[in-house]
């Protein structure tokens, strides 16, 4: 009987904790564990990329970011370099955007662009 009441106390206590915990904390934990991955896509004659967080499409980039015009990446490797940089930024919880300077340093743009 003592054992039974102990089990009952534990069960009720667990339920209380479950109710008391904010539900958001669970989704936050899941969110932080979600893998970030990128995918290279074909856009006409050129290439772009997608950034996925788990099953959620976060960014779809058909054209080179930051610059005027609708210009695709010339090669899958160029798109991959930028997608990798964004993935790295997301994993560091920093801004997932690309600047013109970064495009120059990745040899995707030349300085005079």
């Amino acid at each position: 009987m003592i054992k039974f009441s102990r089990i009952l106390v534990i069960v009720v206590f667990t339920i209380c904790i479950w109710i008391a915990l904010p539900k958001d904390s669970f989704s936050d934990m899941n969110h932080k564990r979600l893998p970030v991955r990128s995918k290279i896509i074909e856009v006409g004659q050129g290439y772009g990329y997608e950034i996925w967080i788990g099953e959620k499409l976060l960014v779809k980039q058909e054209f080179i970011p930051a610059i005027n015009g609708e210009i695709t990446f010339k090669t899958p490797e160029e798109a991959r370099k930028v997608a990798n940089l964004i993935t790295k930024k997301l994993l560091e919880r920093s801004n997932p955007e690309i600047s013109v300077e970064e495009l120059v340093s990745l040899n995707i743009l030349t300085l005079k662009h």
Partner: protein
């Protein structure tokens, strides 16, 4: 004796949990309002506030802003149907926040604002079909931030705000065909900054904002057909109204106007619905994300999203879709 101790523990735990359960239920019922928010997208790791934007068709456009360290000039689109973001051409002016954004006939405009040192008066237009920015005419006579802007009948309108020394009440009209700004007269409201507008059936409604620490309670409708302003019922007319605030977002959906979030002595999550037929307001379900100010709203004729913005020192980065007629559901 030990058994008795255990039973009393058990009973006290059950009482505590039952009380907690009843309390949470009754709170829900007390605050029952129609409207539901569903989290749509996570603009992950890119916290920013004081952005400017506009909606054209099924695409929300937003850019510039401040991330706590830097003023930004990057510019993004949110695809309402596909629920994803794309980075577009950088805003070509100096990085800034507290700018205005509006669209005229399918072209976007962002201008004015604050670059961390000065208020600004330059404007730029964005062509979505070519992903290109072009500078347009500045408002030469006045620089300002935290103004409002909207468009009607092919013209842009810009007014109120803070010029670095004073809050303002003057309005300016932009004609894209001649690329000129001309001053408009006739706004009878007080000077203010960080006000909000929304457009219903071709009429523009303007309210909220702050001046000299006072949250303003006047509410106005602008009829672009004769460019006249009409005073509507004050925002504190009814005893249960709690609409006054600054840095809120405004949008319209299905013939109703909404003022959401913003700050009144701290960040707010409350949402109010305006019915133009009765000139009355009704409280809706609070924004389900964290409280925020300087947020952004995207709305086309059928769907509305509110997100980003900041709450105190914490920057936020999510976007929620608002369903004004749905029952509140805390699980989504």
């Amino acid at each position: 004796m030990r058994k008795a101790v255990h039973y009393s523990k058990l009973i006290s735990l059950m009482v505590v949990s039952t009380t907690a359960f009843i309390f949470s239920c009754s709170t829900d019922e007390d605050e029952e309002s129609l409207g539901n928010w569903i989290n749509r997208s996570v603009f992950d790791g890119s916290p920013r506030s004081g952005m400017s934007g506009f909606t054209i068709g099924n695409i929300g456009y937003m850019g510039v802003g401040y991330d706590g360290d830097d003023y930004l000039n990057s510019f993004w689109t949110y695809d309402i149907e596909g629920d994803f973001w794309s980075q577009k051409a950088d805003f070509p002016g100096s990085a800034r926040n507290a700018a205005v954004g509006f669209q005229i006939d399918g072209k976007g405009y962002i201008g004015s604002g604050y670059d961390g040192v000065d208020e600004l008066n330059d404007f730029y237009t964005y062509d979505p079909s070519s992903n290109t920015w072009t500078q347009v005419a500045s408002i030469e006579s006045t620089k300002r931030r935290s103004a409002v802007a909207f468009s009607a009948n092919g013209f842009g309108y810009f007014g109120t705000g803070y010029d670095g020394e004073n809050d303002r009440k003057d309005f300016w009209k932009y004609d894209p065909s001649s690329d000129t700004w001309t001053e408009q007269v006739g706004f009878g409201g007080n000077k203010r900054r960080s006000a909000t507008t929304f457009t219903i059936n071709g009429l523009i409604y303007l309210g909220t904002g702050i001046s000299n620490g006072i949250y303003l309670n006047d509410f106005w409708a602008f009829d672009p057909s004769n460019e006249s302003w009409t005073k509507k019922t004050d925002l504190d007319e009814e005893g249960n109204y709690n609409i006054e605030r600054s840095r809120a977002v405004g949008f319209s959906l299905n013939g109703y106007g909404y003022i959401a979030c913003g700050e009144i002595n701290g960040a707010s999550t409350s949402v109010w619905e305006y019915d133009p037929a009765t000139d009355m307001w009704e409280a809706k379900t609070n924004f389900e994300g964290s409280s925020r100010q300087d947020a952004v709203a995207f709305a086309n004729t059928t769907r509305a999203f509110v997100g980003l913005g900041r709450s105190g020192s914490l920057y936020l980065d999510d976007l929620d879709e608002f369903f004004p007629l749905a029952e509140y559901d805390e699980e989504d």
